[in-house]
């Protein structure tokens, strides 16, 4: 177990720069999730930490020791691949004990360690099977077992759950969370799924176009996104964003409605999450809308509302909503939970 530091890390392929000035300090035992849309460089960053991808510029330190030039085998890290990358010609036990076998451990110790990690992951009856005789979920477990058996300095996960079906994904997510609690190991986890990010992470690193957008605890990202990108990316369903203009001392939506916020001199966008819009009588609220689509999800419902001059607004309402398509109602924004962004997309801090 160790702490990992990234200092001004950059990555280029030829003239194309894909990562720029990445700074990150990962504490011992921390669970870090790198999240972002596909092509944002999150996997490349993970592979640079693993040593599978050379670092163009900057320093990578494990326990204050520079490891830029170290081969993956000398970094003592374990990685769980998206495709699991199990060795098809080795049975489950040998797959899990392979790193120990390579290290020249005694057969007895290898056996002990594979047994133990097989117990942990419920793979006991499968130790002499070949990977091709396993289901997707079982393969995933073997890939994790392989990582656990070697007791590495850090665990790296590269979208480990994206090849599983939805139910299994939830189950394995829970297992990974438990695993982290039990082992207390440093873990770096790459995903494009914000639910995985929000549920697993101690801290989330949001990446876009090779740059870090924000680093923070899950709720921090949700409650105070640093910019429009994070605001849009974190939270499901996504935040409603409207253009605003300043009229006198007040901010006005493009359809002319006042939103009752005076601060934020440079504000051009107003963001409000679907759960922060209340449904009120037509003559109250900030604007009036008509329900276009009502999605009933059981625990709550999503109401896609058409507001004149503003376009579509998404509202999250309770599960037993009596609203129907075509109903007209007032929308009241919970202004204290809303955000303002300037023309560069940076969130403005408001004194409330």
């Amino acid at each position: 177990m160790s702490n990992i530091q990234l200092r001004r890390i950059s990555k280029s392929y030829g003239d194309v720069e894909v990562m720029n000035d990445i700074n990150l300090e990962i504490q011992d035992g921390e669970f870090i999730v790198l999240v972002g849309p596909s092509g944002c460089g999150k996997s490349t960053l993970l592979r640079m930490i693993a040593g599978l991808e050379p670092i163009t510029a900057g320093d990578l330190l494990f326990d204050d020791e520079l490891v830029n030039e170290l081969a993956p085998r000398d970094r003592d890290i374990a990685m769980v691949f998206q495709s699991y990358a199990l060795y098809p010609h080795m049975d489950v036990a040998r797959n899990m004990g392979f790193s120990l076998e390579i290290r020249g451990e005694k057969a007895q110790i290898i056996d002990q360690r594979t047994q133990k990690s097989a117990d942990t992951l419920g793979l006991k009856g499968l130790l002499d099977r070949l990977p091709k005789a396993l289901s997707g979920g079982q393969r995933q477990r073997v890939a994790m077992g392989r990582a656990i058996a070697r007791d590495p300095k850090a665990f790296l996960f590269d979208e480990p759950l994206s090849n599983l079906d939805a139910a299994l994904r939830v189950e394995m997510r829970l297992e990974i969370a438990k695993l982290h609690q039990r082992l207390g190991a440093t873990m770096i986890y790459v995903t494009h799924d914000q639910v995985e990010a929000l549920t697993l992470a101690d801290r989330i690193v949001v990446l876009n176009e090779g740059k870090i957008q924000q680093i923070g605890k899950p709720l921090e990202l949700y409650q105070s996104p640093a910019n429009l990108f994070v605001a849009n990316f974190i939270g499901s369903p996504t935040m409603n964003i409207f253009d605003v203009k300043r009229v006198g001392a007040e901010l006005q939506l493009v359809n002319g409605a006042l939103i009752g916020m005076s601060g934020g001199g440079a504000a051009v966008s107003f963001g409000i999450r679907p759960e922060h819009i209340a449904i009120v009588a037509q003559d109250k609220g900030h604007v009036v809308g008509t329900a276009e689509v009502v999605e009933r999800l059981g625990s709550d419902s999503n109401i896609y509302t058409q507001v004149d001059g503003l376009g579509q607004v998404l509202i999250r309402h309770h599960g037993n909503t009596e609203l129907n398509i075509g109903d007209k109602f007032g929308l009241e924004f919970n202004v204290s939970a809303a955000h303002l962004f300037d023309s560069d997309g940076i969130r403005l801090t408001l004194d409330k």
């Binding site: 693993a50 040593g51 599978l52 081969a71 993956p72 085998r73 003592d76 890290i77 374990a78 990685m79 691949f81 495709s83 990358a85 199990l86 060795y87 098809p88 010609h89 392979f98 790193s99 390579i102 290290r103 070949l130 392989r146 070697r150």
Partner: protein, 312 residues
């Protein structure tokens, strides 16, 4: 399926003659029949006739003395010193050639896999030996070893391998290395190309996982690459072994089995017996022995494949 609605087709009763061909047991063979008939005509029939020659006396020099003689040829083979010499030479020729072709071919494939500038060009270039007719290659190699017109013996002399620049094809103790050298040169591309294809089919993630698991280069090669290549290795080695054991071109052109039978292998022995001594009966008997040996070898190798090969 009913065809009754279509007036252009004859009613069902009329097609009854075809029904036996429509039976599910016979139908597949009907489709296969063109190739089965062809294979029978060009392989199976000659094979049976050839094997039957092994039990007959058919020599053009003794035209009156033809007829069935049972196992007489095989008894002669049992006593035939030239046969044993050829058999030993066949093993030497075959296994030396295959081992060198395979190891150099594998090395070349790994180099090509690693990738370098102009790799595509070299990949095409490497295939060239196969484009040259074997007869021409054999002649060229024979000339290369000839000290009057070729450089090889002078180079070997300069390197201290030979005491004086003479033609190694004329020295019974080392003559076999001549055709073997030519054969290795000729056979490397086959292994290089097939093994390169197999190497390229190994997922990169296997190497990445092995690197993270801490494997050294040698461990990656022995524990990842080789097991993945194993099925291809077994098949190519088997094919090439059978091929080379039967491959008489180089030896026939370069040495004709000489000097003093020192490069005589079974296939050249068979060829010379049949077409120089015109003793077809005896040549067929030797062929049958070679066929049995190769069948045993192929069976062993295929058994090994079932046991060791786990990737597929």
């Amino acid at each position: 399926m009913s065809l009754t609605t279509n007036k252009n087709f004859a009613p069902d009763q009329k097609g009854q003659g075809w029904k036996i061909f429509k039976s599910p047991k016979l139908e597949p063979f009907l489709y296969l029949s063109p190739s089965i008939i062809l294979i029978c005509l060009v392989i199976f029939v000659p094979l049976v006739i050839g094997i039957s020659y092994a039990f007959q006396s058919i020599s053009l020099f003794r035209p009156s003395d033809t007829g069935w003689i049972g196992f007489e040829h095989f008894e002669d083979i049992y006593q035939d010193r030239k046969f044993y010499k050829s058999l030993r030479n066949t093993f030497w020729w075959t296994f030396t050639s295959v081992i060198l072709q395979f190891s150099l071919g594998l090395g070349l494939a790994m180099l090509l896999k690693a990738g370098f500038k102009g790799q595509k060009f070299f990949q095409a270039l490497i295939f060239l030996p196969w484009a040259v007719p074997t007869f021409l290659s054999a002649l060229t190699w024979a000339w290369l070893f000839n000290p009057v017109i070729g450089p090889l013996s002078h180079w070997m002399f300069a390197l201290g391998i030979l005491d004086e620049p003479y033609n190694i094809l004329a020295d019974p103790s080392i003559a076999m290395y001549g055709p073997i050298a030519a054969n290795v040169w000729f056979g490397i591309p086959f292994f290089a190309i097939t093994l390169l294809a197999a190497l390229q089919s190994i997922p990169d993630e296997m190497y990445e996982a092995a690197a993270i698991d801490g494997a050294s280069k040698w461990q990656v090669f022995s524990k990842i690459t080789l097991p993945f290549l194993a099925p291809m290795i077994v098949i190519t080695v088997m094919l090439r072994t059978v091929w080379i054991a039967n491959f008489a071109d180089f030896i026939y052109v370069m040495t004709s089995g000489g000097p003093a039978n020192s490069t005589q292998i079974l296939s050249t022995y068979i060829f010379l017996t049949a077409f120089k001594k015109l003793d077809f009966g005896y040549a067929s008997a030797v062929s049958v022995v070679l066929l049995v040996l190769l069948l045993i070898f192929a069976t062993l190798l295929l058994k090994m494949r079932q046991k060791f090969v786990r990737v597929n």
